[in-house]
Symmetry: C2
Subunit: 199 residues, 2 copies
């Protein structure tokens, strides 16, 4: 360390902290005490999270959650919070994965001693979220609405191709798509009907 | 809100918060009061951040920063903090972008009234970071070491192809690669020589 120490301008010292917490309303939707045993039940939760986000004007029409794959125990949830929290990272999937890491205190959800984990999302992930899925250690990715459904609203999903999914599959991640797709798509359309911002 | 309110299990209530702050040592490396006017100076900073991370056993051998493109003012920095903070999200680029959003209080760094921003990274981004770059609003992405350099160490970069870069370019993001590549690669090799964890 040869440089003289600098603590930087005041706004870096004062705002150089990022925080992420659950909105209080999420605890009235997500049941952290219960078990979501079926694919349908898990997808129903994330679609409900997406719908509540739209109806509460919280953010984009997307929800996600991490479950223990076998027991169905809910580990973490996420809703799109890009506009609300002024941060382009906070897609629903990234928020759910971030909170899963925070809760389990592990950089990988596939750490020795942990059960297998599953990421469930109300819409096929964008390029960022697909990459985050790969690094998170989840063993399954389950999706509701499709990329085409999101793009029909004007959302850009970024550089994701079938080869992207194949990359995850080759690394042992099971991919399950179009679970309750119509229900999930209905939320996208509700967002558009309310004049939700496409960004 | 029709469900009875639940605040969830104690560990969700107590650990349901994610925090990210700069390590104190970063303020002795990054000069938030100065200007980094040239591509070389900007890349030299992120390579130094990567090297300090390795020498301090902080994390993976990667550094990144966001600058105002024209003035060279430093907006935010990041170093790989996946292991240190037990969170697979905290690649150097994602950390730098997250802190830029936090400082500028905007979900896009291309908001009206803001100057153009540039993301500089010591190594070509993985799939997650490339997607995050796209959503962040930066106008330029500058890279040091290549994907092949990272993969030679055993790091997986995920599903990134030349088409991925073309997707960003088509949306107006200028891509500049192999700036001080050899210097950046030297840090990767230093990490390997110290027996750094590949994850």
């Amino acid at each position: 360390m040869t440089n003289p120490r600098s603590t930087g301008p005041a706004d870096v010292r004062n705002s150089g902290e990022l925080r992420l917490t659950y909105p209080v309303w999420m605890f009235s939707v997500a049941d952290f005490d219960g078990a979501y045993r079926t694919p349908d039940a898990r997808m129903a939760l994330v679609i409900r999270l997406a719908r509540e986000s739209v109806e509460r004007d919280w953010g984009g029409p997307f929800g996600a959650a991490v479950f223990e794959a076998d027991s169905g125990r809910l580990v973490s949830v996420g809703v799109n919070s890009v506009l609300r929290l002024a941060n382009s990272l906070w897609h629903a999937e990234v928020m759910a994965l971030a909170m899963a890491h925070t809760r389990l205190k592990s950089h990988t959800l596939a750490a020795p001693g942990l059960p297998a984990h599953e990421l469930v999302t109300s819409c096929e992930p964008c390029a960022m979220c697909l990459g985050a899925t790969l690094w998170s250690g989840v063993r399954t990715l389950m999706c509701g609405a499709t990329r085409a459904d999101a793009e029909a609203l004007g959302f850009d999903e970024g550089p994701v191709t079938e080869a992207s999914y194949a990359h995850l599959a080759a690394r042992g991640i099971e991919i399950v798509r179009e679970i309750r797709r119509e229900d999930a798509r209905t939320v996208l359309e509700a967002y558009r009907a309310r004049g939700g911002v496409i960004y």
